[in-house]
Amino acid sequence: MRRTYDIDGKDFSVAGAASSDFKVLLKKLGIPGDVIRRVSIAMYEAEINTVIHGGGGKCEAEIADNRIVISFIDQGPGIPDIDAAMQEGFSTASEQIREMGFGAGMGLPNIKKYTDDFQIQTVVGKGTTVTLCINL
């Protein structure tokens, strides 16, 4: 089963709508609660990042027999230093985003913490694809 979402990069108030919809779907399918929680947190962090840093994009979420794979694809500025971005506390978020409660440099480390596999493909000036995988 597959779901595709457009991620609006201009309206921060609707950020998280994709993660919310997918969480409802997982509940309907009877996926175990601990898996839903891990998927929800990782997906929401990645969705927020796509809005904040990627300027919006697309999300493709697939539920397979033995795992859930979710990709966020943006055409934003890319990540110049992935190692730095993976460090807790490192953030390039604006003051405006910090005032909204994000930008503490916990997003990518948090995604890694809650997923079984986590890949980042990024090209500076062209965009980023973040792929999360959680085993069932």
């Binding site: 921060f12 108030s13 609707v14 950020a15 998280g16 993660s19 919310s20 969480k23 929680r37 929800s40 947190i41 929401y44 962090e45 927020i48 909204m100 409660g101 994000f102 930008g103 503490a104 440099g105 916990m106 997003g107 480390p109 948090n110 913490k113």
Partner: protein, 122 residues
């Protein structure tokens, strides 16, 4: 601690409209006080109450993702109708209190909310 007791302890108002009988059906085992949603996403546990002075729709979204059952906006912060509607849609209770964060946390901790969970973490 029942949500009705939490409301009384904080002299709070239920912005989402639940009465005390409804709030007494919700048992909260711990609380988190934070204005950083990134920290909430990293550290919060089940059966939690989120205490925050941050007022925007992402507070509700974060609570939804974390299965947080109730949010209390501190220091007199008033959620917008949009925020309250989103909380109702997600089944999350929203309380508001005039107490600042420090006092809010202190009042609940003094009534043992989250004390056992805190001790287990040390």
């Amino acid at each position: 601690m029942l949500l009705s007791e939490i409301k009384a302890t904080l002299h709070a108002v239920a912005a989402t409209g639940e009465d005390d009988a409804q709030l007494s059906q919700v048992d909260i085992s711990t609380a988190c006080g934070s204005d950083l949603l990134s920290d909430v996403l990293a550290f919060v546990k089940d059966q939690s109450l989120l205490l925050t002075g941050l007022v925007n729709a992402q507070v509700i979204r974060t609570a939804e993702m974390m299965d947080i059952m109730a949010i209390c906006f501190v220091r007199g912060k008033e959620p917008t109708d949009e925020i309250i509607d989103l909380a109702r849609e997600k089944g999350i209770t929203v309380l508001t209190t005039e107490h600042p964060m420090y006092v809010t946390c202190g009042k609940l901790y003094a009534k043992d909310l989250g004390v056992r969970a805190d001790a287990q973490d040390l």
